[in-house]
Symmetry: C2
Subunit: 657 residues, 2 copies
C-alpha cells in the first residue's frame, strides 16, 4: 500500500490557506482585507475508494470535519472503529466542514488514504483527491500550514525614549513572543528599518498589548522590534524565524564579491517571500499578485528547482470560478497566470498537475476572451485594471503590451491543449495568428521602427515596456526584432523604466539580445547600491538619488515601502539563465542547453538545477568545466554544440562574450 | 434618520444560515451532509455610504468581523471611536470574516447603518446591502438566527426497561436540556413516535452523553425522548419549543369538525417546518428542497400572508452561481424555483426583492437552457435527476411533464423581464411559443386524447402526473383541456398518484376544474385518516392499508418516514383558494377575486389574507357574508360579479357548487 496521507478535495488546501493569507495584512492598527474577491474552500465533499481487503481489518476515519461513512450498505460515524471484512468493497466518506475544509486520514492494514481516492463536490465530475507533504500522520492538521521554526534572538538592544529597541540583525519573518508581567502594558512596533520601529505613529505594524494577551504574536515581518513601555526592561522579547524547509539547488559565485553578496541577498529575500505562496513582500502587501508571482516562478525554477510553491501559488491565484474580474483585477495578471501554467508545465513536465488546473485555466481564458473588442484586442472594461507597469504609458484604448500578452496567452492555450490531446474548441492557434496580424496592423509604426503603445490616442508613443515584451515573448522576429531593439530598447532618449518589477523584464530582454554586460552592471549598481545602504533583503524599489529615510517612503506613507520584495530577486534568474546559461529545450528539461557567458566576470562557479538533475560549471578565463548528472544536455558555444554525457567532466574553452 | 440595523452583503445571511442548516441532519449517530453543493457566504465585502453630518459626532463601527474604515483620507480601526466632523463625507467600511460573514452596525447621531448603504464584493457591481428584522442593536448577532423559545414540558413520563420515556404530547422541535449528574452517562433517543424513541438501534436520532457534555442539545424534532440510563430518574429533562414568531393571517372552520382538526394539524405542521427556510420535514431530511418549497410558498401565501420565509428560501435555493447542477440536482426543481420567483412577485409585488435575485435567476435559466436538446426539450444530462414524482412514469428520453414546467419557466422569465423593463436578450416568449408547438407535436396523442410521458420509448404511456401539469399550468386549453380532463385526470383506470407531494398538485387541478368535493373528501379520508392514527402533525405519507408501526417505515428504515412534513399542509391552500375562493388577479393582490364554493360544507367561516389586507367570509347555506379591508376585490358567483368596497359587509346568496 501507499503511504497514508491526509486527503481532501483537490485545491481546497491552497484555497483555504490563500483565504487566510489574504486576510493577514495589517496597517496602522487596522486589519486590511485584500482588494479582490477571495475564494473559499468547499463546505462538503464526498470521497470514494474501491478496494480489496486481503483480510479482516479495522479502519478508523480520522477527521476534524463532520460527516459519515457509507460502507456495507449502512451509515457509520467517523472517528470510530469500522470493521472491514476481507473482500472487495466500496467505501464512501462524506464530510462537511464549516470552519476549515473537509479532510481526513485512514492508516490501517486494509486501507489507507492516498492519491488513489476520488473526490466529488456534488456539482462537478469526480477528481483525484488532493494531498500535500507534511500531513502523513493522524495528529497532523491540514488547516495548519507546515512551516518550520528556528529560534532567533536580537543581536542588540538599545534603550531609547519610552522603551527598548531590539535589532534582530537582519530582515526576518515569524512570531515574536512578548512576556508582559501582570498589570503591565506595552506597545510593540515592528520595523523593517530602525526609523520605522522607532516611529509608532507611522510604522505600518504596531499593536498595544497587556499581560492577558497571547504572548505569541502572529508571524510578521521585521528586523527591529520596539517595545514601548514604562517598564520595557521587564518585558521579555524573543522570536522565531518561520520558514519553508526548501533548499537551494542553485548557487553562483564569481570574482566580484559584491555580486556574490547580491546573490545571497536575493536568495534570502526570495526565501522570506516563499511561503504558503509567493508573496509580493512580507510586510506589504503580504498578498499574492499574479504579476509578481510570474517573476517568482521563473526565479524559483532556478533557485529551488522545486515546483511546490509555484504549484500552490498557481492554484491559489486560479481560485474558484466564476471569473468576474481579472486575477487581482488586473488584465495582464490573468494573462501571466495562463502563460505561467504553460511555462510551469514546460519546466517540470507534470501532466497530472496540468490536468488538475486545466478546467479553471479554460474558464479564465474564456473570461479573457469574453471581454475582447471587435478586433480581438484587450480593452478596458468595467472593473479592469490595465497595469503593465507604473510610468508613462499611453493607455488610451487598446494597449500594445496587453495585446502581446494576449497573443502569448492564445499560444499558451494552444500549447497546453496540445499536451492534453484536446482538439481546441476555439482554435487557439488561429486566434493567435489573427491577433498577430492585427497587432502589426494597428501598433507597428514603420517610421519609428517600433511598436506604439496606443493607436487610439493619436500620440503614437513608443515605450520601452511594449517593445521589451515584443522581444521577451518572441513576438517580433527578423528585421522587426532588430528594429525594435535599435529603435526602442536601445534608444537612450526613451523614458527609462523606473520600477524594479518591469526592470527585470527589461534586463531579461537585454540578456536575450546578448547584452548580459548591461545586466551585470545593473546588478552591481542597483542591487549593490541597496547593499551599500545597509539592506539585508532586497527592497521593493531603490533610487540611488534618495537619502536616509527617503528610501523607506512609498505610496504616500513614510514607511510604505516594502524592504523585502520578491521581485528584487531577479539576479538569481539573470545569472543562472544567461551567465551560467542553462535552460531547458524540451518539456521537463529532458533536453537542455548549457550556453555559459561570463560577460564581465573573469571567473565564476555555478550550480543550476535542470529537470531532476543539475549542471555544475566552473569558469576561469578562458576555460570552463561543465558537468551534468542527467542526460539531455548540450553545451553550446557560438555555433559549436557538444552533447553532454552525464557524469563526465568536460572542459571547454570559452570565448568571452 | 432610519432605524439603525446590522447590514451585510445582501444574500450572505441566507447563504450562511442555509449552509449551517444543510449540515444539521443526523442519522444513526452520524452527521449526514446534504447531497448537493453548498454555497458559502463572502469572505470579504466593502460597504460605502455618502452622507452629511449635520454636526460633529462620533461613530463606532460595531462588528465581530475584522477590517478597517476608510474615512477622511486615512485608515481607522473598527470597534473604536471615530470622530466625524460636520460636513459631507464618504465612509467605506472594508470587512472580512473567515468564520461567519462580514456584517456591522453603526448607531450614532450623525450616521447609522441602514438600507441606503451600498455593498461591494470586489468582483461584482455594487448592490444595496442586506438586513433583516431582529438585528437592530449593537448586541445582536446576525450569525445567530433569531428564533423564539417557549418552555415545554413532558405531558407524561414512563419507566421502561433501561430508562425513562418522556412524552411531550405532540410533535415539536427545539433544544432538549439534560442534566446528567457527575459520573453518569445517558443515551438520548429522539422519537417522532413512541416506537421510534424506544428502539435505540433504529431511531434516526440518538446520542450518548456524559455529565461533561453540553446539557443543552441542538434543536431537533421529537415528540418522545427516551433517556436510557441506569439512573435515568436522576437525569433532569426539559425542552424548549424553537419557533418563528410568525402569525397566521388565515383561518378556516366549517361544520365538519374533522376538517377543522385537519386545518389545525396542517397549520401546526407548517409552522414547525417554517424555520430559517421552508424545510421538507423537521426530522428528515431537514433540508431545503425546491419542489417541496414550491408548495410551501403557495401555502404560506395563504396561511401567513407574509413573504419573509419564502424570500429567505428563494435566496437560499438560488445560492451562488456558477450553476453546475440543477437546484437540489433535480431538473424540475430548477424550474419550480424560477416559476416561484414569478409567483412570489405576483403575490407580493416586491420589485426590490425581485431585482436583488434577478441576476441569479437569469444565470439559473441560462444553465437550464444550456442543457436542452435540439428540440429545446429538457433531457437527462450528466448529474441530472428527472424527478417529477415517484411512481410509474415513463422517463425514457424527454419527459412531457418536464417540458410543461420548462414552458412555464420560459413564460415566467418573460413575465419577470417585462416587470423589470428588460428587453429579453433571449426572447423568452418566443422560446415558450416554440416549445408549446413542439410539445404538441411530440407528446400529444390524438387517439388517447391526452399527453403521453415519452415519445422516445414507444410505449405512449399516459399518466396522471403529466396531464395534471397540463391543466395546473394552463398548458392545455379549450378542447384539449377537456380531453385531458376526461381521458387522463378523470380516468379511473390510470394508475393513482400515491405520493402526497404530487397529490397536492392533483387536488389543485381537481379544484381548478371544479371538483372541490373530491378534494374535500380526500381531506377527510387522507388527513382525517392520519388524525385517526394519532398524528399530531402531518406525515410525509399515509397509507390507510398499513397498520401500527408500518406507518413509520420508509426508504428501507423502520423509522425513516418523517412524521412532520410541510407538503402535508396542502389543505390550507385548497380550502383558502378554492373553498373560500380568494385569489389575486393582479400583482400584489391590487385586484383580487372572492369566489367562494362551499362544496360539501353546509357552513364555513374563513379569513384569507390578500395583499396587505384580508377577506372575511362567513357562510351558512345559502347565505354568505363577505367583508374586505382593502380595495380591489370582486365577488364572483357564476357569471355574476360584484365589486367589493372595503369595510362594507356584503351578504350574497350562494349556489351550492
Amino acid at each position: 500500500m501507499n503511504k497514508a496521507k491526509w486527503i481532501w478535495y483537490r485545491g481546497d488546501f491552497e484555497i483555504y490557506h490563500h483565504m487566510l493569507l489574504s486576510c493577514r495584512r495589517q496597517e496602522y492598527g487596522c486589519d486590511y482585507p485584500c482588494q479582490w474577491h477571495i475564494s473559499r474552500p468547499e463546505v462538503s465533499a464526498s470521497f470514494v475508494k474501491d478496494f480489496t481487503a486481503e483480510r479482516d481489518g479495522v479502519v478508523r476515519v480520522v477527521t476534524r470535519s463532520k460527516g459519515m461513512i457509507r460502507f456495507g450498505g449502512k451509515l457509520h460515524p467517523v472517528n470510530e472503529e469500522l470493521r472491514v471484512p476481507a473482500g472487495e468493497h466500496r467505501i464512501v466518506v462524506e464530510l462537511y466542514d464549516i470552519e476549515k475544509f473537509p479532510s481526513f486520514f485512514i492508516d490501517s492494514d486494509v486501507l489507507v488514504t492516498d492519491e488513489t481516492w476520488i473526490a466529488e463536490c456534488f456539482d462537478r465530475a469526480p477528481v483525484p483527491v488532493g494531498w500535500k507533504p507534511g500531513f502523513f500522520s493522524a495528529g497532523d492538521d491540514p488547516s495548519v500550514f507546515p512551516f518550520e521554526y528556528a529560534d532567533i534572538s536580537p543581536v542588540s538592544s538599545e534603550k531609547i525614549e519610552g522603551g527598548i529597541l531590539y535589532d534582530f540583525g537582519r530582515e526576518t519573518f515569524g512570531p515574536v513572543t512578548v512576556q508582559i508581567p501582570a498589570g503591565e502594558r506595552a506597545t510593540l512596533v515592528y520595523g523593517e528599518s530602525r526609523a520605522e520601529a522607532t516611529d509608532p505613529e507611522n510604522a505600518l505594524v504596531r499593536e498595544t498589548l497587556n499581560s492577558s494577551d497571547d504572548p505569541v504574536r502572529p508571524a510578521r515581518a521585521f528586523r527591529y522590534i520596539y517595545v514601548k513601555s514604562e517598564n520595557a526592561e521587564k518585558i521579555g522579547v524573543s522570536a522565531q524565524y518561520e520558514y519553508l524547509p526548501i533548499e537551494d539547488r542553485a548557487s553562483f559565485s564569481c570574482d566580484r564579491e559584491l555580486v556574490n553578496r547580491v546573490w545571497d541577498l536575493c536568495a534570502y529575500t526570495f526565501h522570506l517571500n516563499s511561503r504558503e505562496f509567493f508573496l509580493d513582500g512580507i510586510k506589504r502587501d503580504r498578498w499574492v499578485w499574479s504579476g509578481d508571482a510570474y517573476q517568482s516562478y521563473m526565479i524559483a525554477r532556478y533557485l529551488y528547482g522545486d515546483p511546490s510553491v509555484s504549484e500552490r501559488t498557481i492554484v491559489a491565484l486560479l481560485g474558484k470560478p466564476p471569473y468576474r474580474t481579472h486575477v487581482n483585477t488586473i488584465n495582464d495578471y490573468s494573462a501571466y497566470l495562463i502563460i505561467s501554467v504553460w511555462e510551469h508545465y514546460f519546466a517540470g513536465g507534470d501532466q497530472e498537475f496540468l490536468r488538475s488546473v486545466w478546467p479553471r485555466v479554460k474558464e479564465l481564458y474564456a473570461f479573457i476572451v469574453s471581454r475582447l473588442d471587435e478586433n480581438g484586442f484587450v480593452v478596458h472594461r468595467q472593473g479592469d485594471w490595465i497595469f503593465i507597469d507604473w510610468g508613462v504609458l499611453d493607455k488610451e484604448g487598446a494597449h500594445c503590451a496587453e495585446q502581446i500578452l494576449l497573443w502569448r496567452t492564445h499560444l499558451a492555450m494552444a500549447q497546453l491543449s496540445e499536451v492534453l490531446g484536446e482538439t481546441p474548441e476555439a482554435d487557439y492557434q488561429k486566434s493567435a495568428a489573427k491577433l498577430y496580424d492585427k497587432i502589426y496592423e494597428y501598433f507597428w509604426d514603420g517610421e519609428k521602427g517600433a511598436f506604439i503603445d496606443s493607436f487610439t490616442s493619436g500620440r503614437r508613443f513608443v515605450t520601452r515596456q511594449t517593445n521589451v515584451f515584443a522581444v521577451l515573448f518572441d513576438f517580433a522576429d527578423g528585421e522587426k526584432r532588430k528594429s525594435v531593439i535599435e529603435n526602442a530598447i536601445l534608444d537612450p532618449d526613451l523614458p527609462q523604466i523606473t520600477t524594479p518589477y518591469f526592470k527585470l523584464y527589461e534586463l531579461m530582454a537585454l540578456c536575450k539580445i546578448g547584452m548580459l554586460g548591461t545586466a551585470q552592471d545593473y546588478i552591481e549598481s542597483y542591487w549593490g547600491g541597496m547593499l551599500r545602504e545597509g539592506a539585508t533583503s532586497v527592497w521593493e524599489a531603490y533610487d540611488p538619488t534618495q537619502k536616509g529615510e527617503e528610501h523607506f517612503a512609498m505610496y504616500g506613507s513614510a514607511f510604505g515601502k516594502s524592504l523585502c520584495h520578491a521581485w528584487g530577486s531577479g539576479p538569481i534568474l539573470l545569472l543562472s539563465r544567461w551567465c551560467a546559461g542553462v535552460y531547458p529545450t524540451s518539456v521537463g528539461g529532458e533536453t537542455f542547453r548549457v550556453e555559459p557567458k561570463p560577460g564581465k566576470y573573469r571567473s565564476f562557479a555555478a550550480s543550476v538545477p535542470i529537470g531532476s538533475g543539475k549542471v555544475r560549471l566552473r569558469y576561469s578565463a578562458p576555460q570552463i568545466t561543465v558537468e551534468t548528472d542527467v542526460p539531455g544536455g548540450t553545451f553550446v558555444c557560438g555555433d559549436a554544440e557538444t552533447p553532454l554525457e552525464p557524469g563526465r567532466r568536460y572542459v571547454f574553452k570559452l570565448n568571452k562574450s
